[in-house]
């Protein structure tokens, strides 16, 4: 086997040194009735070229040449080439969690830079080293707010990503945590502020909103914060489309921000690995889940970095830890760090503005067809929008597919009240030609027989 660095003679010599007659001696402790005395029924050993052929064929079955207007928590942005060049350096790729600081300063400094960039973009004081993804980050943020406030109710906007809400429900079902769902304003798509005010009480640990929300609408964060804070509740803002922060005002009034950083140079990969991250006000840092890197000095006074405040974590606190998280998304966070270094202070704004322009053009063009209507036009949005059509999406989406275009995702599975509504996303990767073609194909009503 080509990954195994031993010759048959060496194996024999080692067994002799150990004093074992055969390799089976070393497995004698396993009761014989359980020992597997046959080959595993898995595919036979393949050559490297065969492995590549297998996955290339799978990739082709997946279809690659479609234009896509899908977003909804997973965004297609351009990934600069140097991201993969750098993260594939073995010293990053094949290194473990940096517990031994003297020989992992590279990873540690990069995480410190990641934490800084996330704090700068979100307007928070501190950020952690990453969470699994945006959904588990939001769920853990709610738990964090419960610990800080000692309260056990959450008020959640219906416009938080539906799958994030499902994950939150799974996480909190055994914590006696109750959550109330607050709907959205039919005109603006923003959270219904009056309903929110009615739902928040002295028992509320946190208000959780997403901005831009699941409909792509930017929420009025200062107004929401005022309602939450008036009752002593914390405000958690979930951000699924991180590129928005280049042009959308950061949620500085929030107490905790839970972000999905996939948009920062991370491939879609059919949904993962992505990169969640939690940022917060400094005073809440000791209740944060996950790893944190801090700056310190060595015995000669040189600057260095270490994992710190680990008394929050499971390997020290066991059942009293702030979370059970151990492995996080470090290499994906490194991708995001490189992405943000490439775009930089000006580039992230310019990139966000391109998204804004593409989505604005797409929204106008697609809603201009007969029978189509742009929903929630009364509030600012980033790179997504909701379109309502007369015709059932199942019908026109097939027409689009025939033209190798994947249109917006149907919202009825989560928001049946919206009828024939679909959620569209236009990032900088979409071309004007693709938008124009999609509009043309959609409006071409089928010929009645």
């Amino acid at each position: 086997m080509r990954y195994l660095p031993k010759s048959p003679a060496e194996r024999k010599r080692m067994l002799a040194d150990i004093g074992a007659a055969s390799i089976d001696d070393l497995f004698a402790v396993i009761p014989s009735e359980y020992r597997l005395d046959r080959d595993l029924n898995v595919p036979r050993q393949m050559a490297e070229s065969e492995i590549i052929d297998y996955f290339r064929a799978a990739g082709q079955k997946n279809a690659t040449d479609y234009a896509s207007f899908l977003g909804a928590g997973a965004y297609r942005h351009y990934r600069p080439v140097i991201i993969d060049s750098l993260v594939q350096r073995g010293e990053f790729l094949t290194s473990y969690t940096p517990y031994q600081a003297e020989i992992t300063q590279g990873t540690l400094q990069a995480i410190f830079e990641f934490q800084t960039m996330i704090a700068e973009l979100t307007g928070m004081d501190v950020a952690n080293a990453s969470m699994y993804d945006g959904s588990t980050g939001a769920a853990e943020a709610v738990r964090m707010a419960m610990r800080i406030t000692g309260r056990s109710q959450a008020v959640v906007a219906a416009t938080v990503h539906p799958e994030y809400r499902e994950v939150m429900a799974t996480y909190n079902q055994h914590e006696a945590l109750f959550s109330t769902l607050v709907g959205y304003d039919a005109e603006t798509g923003r959270i219904d502020l009056a309903a929110l005010e009615g739902a928040v009480s002295q028992e509320t640990a946190a208000v959780l909103v997403q901005s831009p929300n699941f409909f792509g609408i930017v929420e009025d964060i200062p107004a929401i914060a005022a309602i939450a804070h008036a009752k002593g509740a914390l405000l958690i803002v979930s951000i699924a489309e991180a590129v928005s922060l280049g042009v959308v005002r950061p949620p500085v009034e929030a107490d905790i921000v839970s972000m999905e950083a996939q948009s920062f140079g991370v491939a879609l990969s059919y949904g993962g690995p992505f990169c969640g991250v939690i940022a917060a006000k400094e005073k809440y840092v000791r209740q944060m889940p996950g790893r944190l890197v801090g700056q310190t000095v060595d015995s000669n006074g040189y600057r260095g970095f270490v994992l710190t405040l680990s008394t929050r974590e499971q390997h020290i606190r066991r059942e009293k830890a702030t979370s059970n998280i151990c492995t996080n998304q470090a290499l994906v966070a490194l991708m995001a760090t490189i992405f943000l270094a490439v775009y930089g202070k000006e580039g992230i704004r310019e990139l966000a503005e391109h998204n804004l322009a593409k989505a604005e053009y797409a929204a106008k063009t697609l809603s201009a067809q007969t029978g189509a209507k742009l929903l929630f036009n009364g509030a600012p949005r980033f790179n997504e929008f909701v379109l309502q059509s007369q015709e059932s999406p199942a019908i026109w989406s097939q027409r689009l597919m025939d033209e190798k275009i994947v249109g917006g995702i149907e919202l009825s599975r989560w928001y049946p009240e919206l009828g024939n509504a679909t959620l569209w996303c236009a990032t900088e990767m979409i071309t004007r030609e693709q938008i124009d073609t999609a509009a043309k194909v959609m409006s071409a009503a089928p010929v009645e027989a």
Binding site: A58, L86, T94, E102, G106, P273
Partner: protein
């Protein structure tokens, strides 16, 4: 005249060789923010092919007025920055990384290539199932391989890491008990367990009850019998245990639990000792998780991403997270969301698919014979190290070792040198330290897991280094206690880091409070 590069030699001048290393220069590199200058950039967007918009007008109050302080650099500077940082890291690619319980094995490069194939890497999770058949076939084949390897009946790949898998597995346990009318109250956890086990039980709403290990470091059957009752939901067992010992009484453990209606959860962190030799599903395990980033060679990446599939027996299948992969009569695959008894989602979308691709590539590269040989070599390596070091380091448990061996620092501690010091000194010899002070049932533990990826030469160098350090402890203990001596930074002040946390760079400099 030829010399062996690894033989200590005294050159006329210049740096000395110690074991397999000789110092070389690493470059200094400031933070990205410190080397930034306004006006530099590393990006170029294509011309906008739609009308430009006035962002301030479109967004109104929600328009960002002040940009975040991101660095401004050219491409070559970014390449050098991260390349320089990378040279400050130790890695499997550089040498043995014997972290016990972490399974730091070779990460094959073909895995990285296939995970980046366009049709897979650029697939949106919400694309119609009809356009995702390639991804679904990969998921299906990986699921079937993992079920065969574990001997279990049903599986979810959704959990993003081992601890996330534990969480999912214990929720399955809980949902099953609830379906019987009583969720039960407590989870039994051996004192040798990973910290994630009790943390997981707690967030699933269970009380943690500690199970003391017996004299061999294994499960004490009498204590187990005493502690298992009608309120016990499950035992979370790592097998082989964290001292690298297979629970030879495993079938009795399962019987004791099942007699009281409790389940056996297996933490699969140490599955690298079992693949192809014995299957948890055959020895009474009801539910378990795997770590694709340990056993199945996906890279650790400096702390993640991982992937923590959960496999279970048929009776737990209805409770698996939504969605589950199903196959239609015509052979096409799709996601089924109609799962009324499901515990719900544990993550958005379907899991860390990029890790699934890598793990499957590893399984295909090995085949049944390679997987078995891998396990055998992993166990062979650990036993070889044990044999070569047991005369200089204390072996607290004489029980046969599987894939890892745990020593204690008892003899060295008598000279005032602790396991942590020995670990730091190993760095000077060109190795990453072993796992320090874990498991907690061994005072001053040195937990060594070589994995199958080490050649005899590398193992011998490691043994030579460990023996040399043991000698140094006798002769020059201060040298060991102040190690490492060859790294860019010496021991870092962790107390200061925690007392006055500086968790980010600030333009105005770190806040001084």
């Amino acid at each position: 005249m030829t010399t062996n590069a690894t033989t200590p030699q005294k050159p006329v001048s210049g740096p000395h060789t110690l074991g397999k290393v000789r110092p070389h220069q690493t470059q200094n590199e400031a933070l990205l923010f410190e080397i930034s200058s306004p006006g530099k950039c590393a990006y170029k967007l294509p011309p906008l092919d739609v009308p430009a918009v006035d962002a301030a007008a479109l967004l109104g109050e929600s328009h960002r007025k002040t940009p975040g302080e991101l660095p401004e650099l050219s491409e070559i500077e970014i390449i050098r920055h991260f390349t320089r940082l990378s040279t400050w890291n130790y890695a499997i690619d550089l040498g043995m990384y014997p972290l016990g319980s972490c399974t730091m094995k070779y990460n094959p490069r073909v895995n990285e290539l296939v995970a980046r194939i366009e049709g897979l890497a650029e697939a949106h999770p919400y694309r119609p199932d009809s356009l995702a058949q390639g991804a679904l076939e990969i998921i299906d084949l990986l699921q079937r391989c993992l079920l065969e390897i574990t001997g279990m009946d049903a599986i979810t790949l959704q959990p993003a890491a081992g601890a996330h898998g534990e969480f999912t597995g214990i929720l399955l346990v809980r949902a099953w008990h609830e379906s019987k009318g009583n969720a039960r109250r407590k989870i039994l956890i051996p004192d040798s367990a990973h910290g994630t086990n009790p943390a997981t039980a707690a967030i699933c709403g269970y009380t943690v009850e500690n199970l003391k290990s017996n004299a061999d470091g294994g499960i004490d059957l009498e204590a187990l019998e005493r502690q298992v009752d009608e309120e016990t939901a499950a035992l979370m067992l790592t097998n082989p245990s964290t001292i690298g010992v297979f629970e030879s009484q495993i079938h009795k453990i399962a019987d004791i639990l099942h007699a009281k209606g409790a389940l056996l959860y297996m933490d699969g962190a140490n599955m690298n000792a079992l693949v192809g030799k014995v299957r948890p599903g055959d020895f009474g395990v009801d539910v378990m998780h795997l770590n694709l980033h340990k056993t199945f060679s996906t890279p650790h990446g400096g702390g993640g991403p991982g992937s923590g599939p959960v496999a279970c027996k048929t009776f737990l299948e209805p409770f698996l997270p939504t969605p589950v992969l199903v196959q239609s009569d015509n052979g096409t695959k799709h996601w089924n969301y109609d799962r009324p008894q499901s515990i719900g989602r544990v993550r958005a979308f379907y899991g860390n698919v990029g890790m699934f691709i890598r793990a499957l590539a590893y399984i295909l590269a090995n085949g049944p014979d390679g997987l078995r040989q891998t396990t055998e070599d992993a166990v062979l390596n650990a036993n070889y190290i044990r044999k070569q070091l047991e005369d200089v380091y204390e072996l607290p448990y004489q029980t046969a070792s599987m894939h890892e061996v745990v020593f204690s620092d008892k003899r060295q501690a008598a000279k005032g040198v602790k396991t942590g010091d020995i670990a730091k000194r190993l760095i000077d010899y060109g190795f990453h330290p072993y796992t320090v002070s874990f498991p907690m049932i061994v005072h001053g533990a040195l937990m060594i897991e070589p994995t199958e990826s080490e050649s005899l030469e590398e193992l011998d160098l490691f043994i030579e280094a460990m023996r040399a350090i043991a000698k140094e402890v006798e002769e020059t203990p201060e040298l060991v206690k102040s190690a490492p001596h060859s790294t860019r930074v010496s021991r870092l002040d962790e107390v200061q880091a925690a007392r006055k946390p500086i968790l980010r760079w600030r333009k105005s400099g770190p806040a001084q409070s």
